[in-house]
């Protein structure tokens, strides 16, 4: 009798404890930071707000380095069986994450019409990297395009109109020539322009190729077009900026220190992610502008940045909570706040209709450039084994920019190497 009573008490205890667990869902997510500014603080504040609105769900956000480091840590945690339910990872990791069989499509998570509608509320250009075989695997969060920052004071000094930034390749070269200043002994004191080529060279190169009206990969992630004549021509142009026109330093330009160089006035124009907009705005001691990237055949820029993914190992309850969290983080108001705090694109059109963002854009037109450019945007480079394939391209680009190889041979080499890797996925 006593035994039964003890057992019953024990069962009761167990039930209350599990029901307590049911009410309190703990989520862990990893996220990267690839731009300047106090991003970790912004994320922590957002999560604190979310937890206030949604008692019962605790989110632990773990800053995990850049995009590559974050993917590494998330996959390592998954392999080790640690509880990670969702993460912000590189939008281009989608094929690899599918190949690893670790993510669930959002189509399987949404239940109501309202939720389905939410899935369709983002800019289509941003969804290109999320959608595979008609299913949505990632929800846009910290997304960007490449924009051209330019120093209006330097434009005035060089006799250029600061309100009409160059709109074509030719105009850009011409302006950059006027903006390149040399001292008496011929040493450059101010370069015309900088396009970074460390860290994410393939990303910048996608913009050049897109402007020359050629994409670099097929939508299903199994084919690349590195040796297409238009692509070769694009790399020739990038190299010529430093090797022929002399408006950009030779060799590889570092991604990490470029913003500082622009702020110090050692380059008059720079191509960089719009995610750097707010730090540039806070620190620039001169009048600066933001322009869309110039056109050759057409305008063009790849999108970039991170998406939310939900991992397969999350339980049904955790998946539900994760969806609730992601919906909250990508609501129009949040997307607007996030865009103002960082410079990243407001991921959905109605974010720009919110009072906060519409007011901000009105007073600071540069904030809308990345959004307007979405019209000309394409998916960021993404294939199966994307890290490996894009390294072939990165190495080819760097070998050309440093004068070690010719564009044609370098890109043909990258093409055949990529073909070898991708053969398995066709």
């Amino acid at each position: 009798m006593r035994l039964i009573a003890t057992a019953m008490v024990f069962c009761l205890l167990l039930m209350t404890s599990t029901s307590a667990l049911a009410q309190n869902v703990n989520l862990t997510m990893y996220y990267p930071v690839a731009v300047g500014g106090p991003i970790t603080k912004i994320i922590d504040d957002m999560i604190a707000d979310f937890q206030k609105d949604n008692p019962g769900i605790t989110v632990q956000a773990v800053y995990a380095g850049n995009y590559d480091d974050t993917r590494t840590k998330a996959l390592a945690a998954l392999n080790a069986g640690e509880p990670v339910q969702l993460s912000v990872l590189f939008s281009i990791d989608v094929f690899d994450l599918m190949d690893q069989d670790v993510i669930v499509p959002f189509d399987d998570l949404v239940a109501t019409d309202e939720e389905r509608q939410w899935m369709g509320s983002f800019y289509p250009a941003l969804m290109e990297n999320s959608t595979v075989d008609g299913k949505v695997y990632g929800i846009p969060f910290q997304r960007s395009t490449i924009v051209m920052y330019y120093n209006k004071d330097a434009f005035r000094d060089a006799g250029l109109d600061p309100e009409s930034p160059p709109a074509t390749w030719d105009e850009m070269v011409e302006a950059a020539k006027k903006l390149t200043k040399r001292d008496a002994s011929g040493n450059v004191t101010q370069w015309g322009m900088h396009v970074p080529s460390s860290g994410y060279p393939y990303w910048m190169f996608q913009a050049f190729a897109m402007q020359n009206n050629q994409v670099l990969m097929s939508g299903d992630g199994t084919e690349v077009y590195f040796d297409h004549p238009a692509v070769v021509e694009s790399l020739e142009f990038w190299r010529d900026l430093s090797h022929t026109h002399d408006v950009m330093p030779r060799g590889v330009i570092d991604w990490g220190t470029l913003r500082q160089k622009f702020l110090e006035g050692s380059t008059a124009m720079m191509w960089h992610t719009t995610g750097n907009l707010t730090p540039v705005r806070n620190e620039a001691r001169f009048d600066f502008g933001v322009a869309m990237l110039p056109a050759k055949q057409r305008r063009g820029s790849p999108t970039g940045g991170g998406n939310f993914y939900v991992f397969k190992q999350a339980s049904a309850e955790e998946r539900k909570a994760a969806l609730q969290f992601i919906r909250w983080m990508t609501s129009p108001e949040r997307a607007a706040d996030w865009s103002i705090a960082t410079g990243y694109v407001g991921v959905r059109p109605d974010a720009y209709a919110t009072p906060a963002l519409s007011e901000y854009v009105e007073g600071f037109a540069a904030a809308a450039v990345a959004r307007d450019q979405l019209e000309y945007a394409t998916a960021e480079f993404s294939t199966y084994e994307t890290a490996r394939v894009k390294k072939f391209l990165d190495d080819a680009i760097q070998s050309v920019l440093t004068g070690q190889a010719q564009p044609t041979q370098a890109l043909q080499g990258a093409q055949s190497a990529a073909d070898r890797v991708l053969r398995a996925y066709k």
């Binding site: 590559d68 590494t72 996959l75 390592a76 690899d96 599918m98 190949d99 690893q100 069989d101 670790v102 002994s185 011929g186 040493n187 450059v188 370069w191 080529s197 460390s198 860290g199 330093p249 030779r250 060799g251 590889v252 330009i253 570092d254 990490g256 220190t257 500082q260 160089k261 110090e264 050692s266 084994e385 890290a387 490996r388 390294k391 990165d394 190495d395 760097q398 070998s399 920019l401 440093t402 070690q404």
Partner: protein, 291 residues
């Protein structure tokens, strides 16, 4: 009976350490060796036996040969110079100069800084136009150089930074060794009329030999395990010009998630280190006299 139980006792004492040693050293090596004969498991596809396929791929991989070559250049550039500099600094701060504790601290500071912080500082030193280095060469009238962006200069830049970082650490060992040398030897040398250089060459240097061997072992290991700065400064670029073997292994293992090939590369790294360690043991230990 007594002898047996004593033996058992000995083995029991040895057992915990042996288990740890096997678990954390030998087992990973064996697991890596095994993984190098299999393909990488991905999602629903399990690993399958591929024999020497991964090794064939490695021998055909131009990046592997490039990073291996880079690593030897890096080792040859950093090891002798950092040890030489360490010895010089140790002799310097061992002397009776005023304010030597400040000098000692200054030399030792690079060692205690985290590598990532160091890399960030040096990244800005090397940045063209706005960096410290360009500022200095600019004063002398040299044009701005893209130090980390050119294949011809990037490796030297990393070597200089590494020497700066390592020399202070090695100095500590030399300093300890110098201070343990009996001053009576100095007195005896003086009575015999030995010059300072002669005394150093014939007495101090031989007495420092065990320390030098120890430092050399460490320096070789460091040259093959130092990768942190690459993440910050160059990512192995431009075009693999500054990539080192361990960084490449990291890239293959965690960026490409090709664990099988990474295991193969790890075996290559182990082989290189084993050969270096053996040659050091065989050659140096014979020439070194311990007190």
């Amino acid at each position: 009976m007594y002898r047996v139980s004593n033996q058992v006792y000995g083995w029991l004492l040895f057992f915990p350490a042996a288990v740890m040693f096997f678990l954390f050293t030998h087992f990973p090596i064996l697991a890596t060796l095994k993984a190098s004969f299999f393909s990488t498991p991905r999602g629903a596809r399990p690993a399958r036996f591929v024999g020497l396929e991964n090794y064939r791929v490695m021998f055909d991989d131009p990046v592997f040969w490039k990073v291996l070559g880079n690593n030897f250049i890096f080792a040859a550039g950093t090891i002798p110079l950092s040890i030489g500099l360490a010895l010089l600094m140790a002799v310097w701060v061992n002397g009776k100069l005023s304010g030597r504790s400040i000098v000692r601290t200054a030399y030792f500071t690079p060692t205690v800084l985290p590598m990532i912080a160091v890399a960030n500082i040096w990244l800005f030193f090397y940045t063209p136009q706005i960096g410290l280095l360009d500022g200095l060469t600019g004063l002398l009238g040299f044009p701005s150089r893209n130090w980390l962006g050119e294949p011809s200069t990037v490796m030297s830049c990393l070597i200089v930074m590494t020497i700066w970082k390592e020399a202070g650490f090695f100095m500590i060992f030399y300093l300890a060794a110098l201070q343990s040398i009996s001053p009576e030897l100095q007195d005896a040398g003086r009575i015999e009329g030995a010059g300072r250089w002669y005394f150093f060459r014939r007495v101090t240097w031989p007495l420092l030999m065990p320390t030098t061997v120890f430092i050399l072992f460490n320096a070789v290991i460091n040259a093959f395990k130092l990768v942190d700065h690459l993440f910050i400064m160059t990512k192995g670029g431009p075009n693999n010009a500054s990539s080192l073997l361990l960084y490449y292994i990291y890239e293959v293992a965690f960026s490409f998630w090709d664990t099988a090939y990474a295991s193969t590369l790890t075996m290559a790294l182990l082989a290189v280190l084993a050969v270096l360690a053996l040659s050091q043991f065989v050659y140096l230990e014979r020439r070194t006299h311990y007190q």
